[in-house]
Symmetry: C2
């Protein structure tokens, strides 16, 4: 069926739906739980504290430099679980397909999901597919939800930043947003731009082995580092000071941001995490990060201060201070 | 903001996103877990065997006689959990909104979700909202996933139908599909048609109190009773015989089906369940069903036989037999 297109009947619940599942979804995603084929998946008893999350993915284009909507849908939800100190275990996947989507494209996306799920060591155990008429959706939207198990002895929350905490970022900003934007606009920029989309749970678990008392973990996705820091400042009732010269951005991404009039502080990342920890943990954490493939360019970008509460400000290159507000409007629609 | 429309910025992750959550989602859906406002929801320890499911809802129109996409999104997922003998506990909700959607419509949908969640005694604990440009989606799509806890001592699966089992249905067929179809086409039929969409978990739990050894529960949604019976016949490797004169359909729905050229056996239900049980349990189950608001018109529609394995056949009114196949193509796109 690889040269075929998705038909409305593939979402009917009838014969074509069953064939789509059997011929396309199962070869890539199957596992004993998914194969139960009942209305729900029986996942059994889980010891420990559970963490639960959901995200819908509507990225445009669905294939971009460094990834596609399938890799994004698995990594994004895996990362949201890891941000609470949880080991991701089970994912659901809900597909909304536009009539006429080439089956070959869906297959590529399923292969990406399979690979990302294998790397993150999660199982996709329950799913659903709807098909809408041509024009009622744009190619494919994917929702993933996820269940993880929080490591014992962990207390991580956006509320836990404290004055004196150091703020670490595991690498260069804005790579996902700029890669998607360049793919969407067909920009020929003579530079290599690639999304940073990646499952971060392995790296996070290794950090927690060394420093289980981390205060805050959060991935700066939509809205970028600037918006995410504002959320944490508000939730924790603290000030956050960042240092402009320490913010990691590649010259290529910086250049494209300047051409497009974007501030990398507000551009989405999909393989980055902001880590807030006590100063005495910094060396151990940076060591773990810098020896991990997803943390090689990790660095300190700022610190938590007492005042002004709920605000983020930046020490600029010329020694001034600038307030960093939350993203106000919309820079880049359909970035994830 | 009630006279406003949804903007791209409401999906940015920035200020407008936070305002949408604070001003619209929280007033209707909030609970202590949702209010944690971290990347994931910490739901804590859950005793017992967990059941997990997901469904995306793309129904057109989003408001129809007897319900709307919000009620559908809660009930559909609650019912999928109940079909495995699980008490639904936690839902996620992922919204994909089209730029320009009137906020007033979103608010109505959230009110429906709140009411359905309250009736089903579930909490919506984690959510996500994406906004796509006008024309990239049709008004609103909702994904809900759900976690339930299976009652101890239960073994319900589509694989468990056995020859001799009686097949019960809790009321009239095809009401959801026909109500949506009539609303979509603006049919003025001089009859009252209303979707049967409802959360069935309370009724299911009461049945399981009386008959914990039920073999199969399944809700005949997309593809209708005909397709769902075929799934069970295949999964269990049995034959299923249904009796045409015993199939419950109101004269109004039957009439509309005839006008539209639809077979009610293949039209979607959203408040119905097929129950397979040993003959000696039938009286107790029918008693519980017929005294429950969602089971008043319950009746026996057929039985499980040894042959032909994997097939469904109907004893017709004139005494003949007819093979009932799975729905082949697509009768009614975007019915749920």
């Amino acid at each position: 069926m690889k040269d075929k297109k998705i038909l409305l009947g593939h979402g009917s619940g009838g014969k074509l739906s069953h064939r789509l599942v059997a011929d396309l979804f199962f070869p890539y995603l199957k596992n004993p739980i998914l194969e139960q084929m009942d209305d729900s998946a029986l996942i059994g008893k889980l010891e420990g504290e559970l963490v639960y999350t959901t995200d819908s993915y509507v990225v445009d284009p669905i294939f971009f430099s460094g990834g596609d909507i399938g890799k994004l849908a698995v990594c994004g939800t895996v990362n949201d679980l890891a941000m609470l100190g949880a080991q991701p275990r089970f994912l659901s996947a809900g597909f909304i397909l536009e009539e006429g989507l080439p089956v070959e494209q869906l297959e590529k996306i399923l292969i990406s999901m399979q690979q990302a799920a294998a790397e993150a060591d999660v199982q996709i155990v329950t799913g659903d597919t709807k098909v809408v008429p041509h024009g009622a959706a744009d190619k494919i939207f994917i929702n993933t939800s996820g269940i993880g198990i929080r490591r014992p002895g962990i207390s991580i929350s956006g509320k836990n930043a404290r004055p004196g905490d150091v703020v670490i970022l595991n690498g260069n900003m804005a790579e996902h947003g700029i890669a998607v934007m360049a793919s969407r606009e067909g920009l020929d920029l003579h530079v290599t731009l690639s999304s940073d989309v990646a499952p971060l749970n392995d790296m996070i678990m290794k950090i927690l082995d060394m420093a289980p008392d981390i205060h805050v973990l959060r991935d700066p996705t939509r809205g970028g580092v600037g918006t995410t820091l504002n959320e944490i400042a508000i939730q924790s009732g603290v000030g956050i000071k960042i240092i402009e010269k320490d913010l990691p951005v590649t010259p290529e991404v910086q250049g494209v941001c300047e051409i497009l009039g974007l501030d990398p502080l507000y551009v989405a990342n999909e393989g980055k995490v902001l880590i807030f920890c006590a100063a005495e943990r910094v060396d151990a954490i940076l060591h773990v990060l810098q020896t991990h493939p997803y943390g090689k360019n990790s660095c300190i970008i700022g610190q938590v201060v007492d005042q002004p509460k709920g605000k983020v400000f930046m020490e600029t290159r010329i020694g001034g201070q600038r307030l960093i507000d939350m993203l106000a409007g919309e820079q880049l629609p359909r970035i994830c």
